[in-house]
């Protein structure tokens, strides 16, 4: 596949992720949206590393995946805590930072 096609795919995935992250009420969905955006960037990394013999892009993609896994673990823990605290998984209820 051409790089261009891959970038379009990545853009589509990113936008989907962004849309989910911005619109969904459930925090789990938001987390999924974030993961989508991260994976869109992974697609970008992989796409750009096609012509790179040192495969630095793929290395970055793997690195991102590891961090995403860790991040997801932490995020799920926080969400769990938030759920325990607010008895809701809706992020609108966790608005203590409201000015």
């Amino acid at each position: 596949m051409s790089t261009e096609q891959l970038l379009i795919l990545a853009a589509f995935v990113f936008c989907s992720g962004l849309f989910i992250a911005l619109t969904k009420k459930n925090s789990i969905f938001i987390l999924i949206g974030i993961e989508l955006m991260l994976n869109a960037s992974n697609i970008n990394f992989v796409a750009f590393s096609q012509d790179d013999p040192t495969l630095q892009g793929q290395m970055a993609a793997i690195f991102v995946m590891v961090i995403a896994a860790a991040e997801t673990a932490v995020a799920l823990a926080i969400l769990f805590k938030i759920y325990r605290h607010y008895q809701s998984s809706d992020l609108k209820d966790a608005n203590e930072l409201k000015g």
Partner: protein, 688 residues
Amino acid sequence: MEAAQNHSTLLIILLLAPLASAVLTLLLRNRKGALWLSVGGVIISFVSAVLLFNSPESSAIHFTWLSIGEGRTLTFGFSFDWLSRIIAALVTFVSLLVHVYSVGYMRHDTGINRYFAFLGLFTFSMLGIVLSQSLLMVFFFWELVGFTSYLLIGFWYQKASANQAAKKAFIVNRIGDLGFLAGIALLWGWLGTMNLDELQSIFAVAQYDNGYWLLGITELSNLALIGTALALFCGVIGKSAQFPLQVWLPDAMEGPTPVSALIHAATMVAAGVFLLARIFFIFPVEALTVVAIIGAITALIGAIAALTQTDIKKVLAFSTISQLGYMVLAMGVGAWFAALFHMITHAFFKAALFLSSGSVIHSMHEWEEKSGQHIDPQDMRYMGGLRKQMPVTFYSYLIAMLSLAGLPFFSGFLSKDAIIVEAWAWASNLSGAGISVFHLIPIIALLTAFLTAFYMGRQLFLVFFGKRRLPISEVKPIEVEGWMKWPTAILSLLSLGFFYSLNPLDGEATWLNDLLKAPASLVSSTTTMDTHSLHLIMAAVTVFLAVAGIAVAYKKYTDKTPTAADQLSPIGKFSYHQLYFNRAYHSAFVQPFTKLSSFIARFDHAIIDGLVNLLGVMGVVLSQLLGWIDRYIVDGIVNSSAWLSGRFGQVTRGIQGGNAQSYLLWGVVGILLMMVWVFQFIAWKVTF
């Protein structure tokens, strides 16, 4: 040397014995002890005074009271000349008799310790004046005498009139004393001394040169000297109750009668004349003329006011004023000795008169208590016919009264005659030949002599002759006890002429004349008159006037009640109200003075304090204004900037929804905007 030492010891005893007894009397609770103590004190004093007659005349004592700067001093000094000695003896003698008299008179008074203490204090102060040799010391005791006089006039302090009289006496005296002090200060300023001996030696060589006096190293204009002399004379005017300050003396009769005898007749009021004698050498002729005029006016108005009084003491008080006028007149015409002579004779007969009147009052008072009737014990309208009931008092009174009226063989004749003769000689001297306006002064003196005889005759007949006018005739007034009648008798016996001069017609032939030597005067005395023949003429005239006065009084007042004050003729009222002096002074000085003081107080409160408060109020108003500016303008700017940022925050807080998704959205928007910016501006530039 030893003699001098003895004399100074004696002098100290003479001066301090009355003071010591006064202080002890005040501390002592015992009434009887107080009596003995004070009488004893005066006896010691009197004996010392007599013993001092032996002292050498030159042995004066000086000591520094106060030193000013380097070398200049204010000294106190005691003088030992014959004038001091004689007057000191006179003062202690009269004081002694008055003390003895007071034992009887004041026996029942509760404040007797206080009374004798004041009396002792007075004797001390009076002796201070008499013995002092420096004008400063005279002034020192002068004021103390005024103070004791104040205390004694106001002795019965619960009586409003007595307080009023005491205050009046002190203040009127103080007016004179201001002048006196000014005179002393002027002398100090010009000549640098207040010592009478030093002053006398300066003035002894004074030379007159074209309106200026050459006094030692100083040159003084005649006008300045006249001013100084008259300033000093003010003190005399106050203390000796001369016109225009004579108003205090009649009121001073509110004090106990023995006090009136001692202080307001014999000694204190004569202190003015004494002072005049002491400072006689300072007076240039113009000043002396003023002195003579003042004396003449006083003699006349005193006599006029005495004519219609109904209070037995008031008559004597006005008579005292009149006689003091005589003495001052005598000084004014240069009759130094005659003035002092009259002062001495007057001391005896006037003290005798006052003590007699005191006895009468005492007796009337006792009658009042016995009969239960209420009368004014001093009012002559209730008296009459006391001759038989009170024989000793009557004869004492008679002798003294005849002496005052100026009948031959009595002391008063001698001294008064001397004054009139000298006055006539003085007037003739000034006017050259014939009669001039200066003769008014001896003529006034003669007129006064007639008036004196008249009012004294009136009193004699009203009090001692005629019928008793008391409301109840069953209870009779009785003679006073020995403590009172014998001192009176002694004083009146000393009014007999032969004690002073064997020549019953010539006052200047007395032995006193040999002792009392007039100091050198600035006025050149060139009496060319033959005073001897003048003596004869004047003696005849005065005797005639005296007899005529008594005769008229006899005709008018035997067995008659004197008219009450409100039924008097206008002229009578004029006399009764003391020529309306009090009223005039009240409306001319007292009232304006009090008004001025309350005006000043209001001025102080309203204007000066008002200005200060206004300043304060203005400060407050200003600070309020500044506060307003601060609050609404300065603070307003600050507050409005805070408000603005608040509003801004309100607007922007919407972004902080607390919603993580909205943050994300804004983040994305921000990134998009940045991307737009990057591509619009930066990337463009890089590319092209």
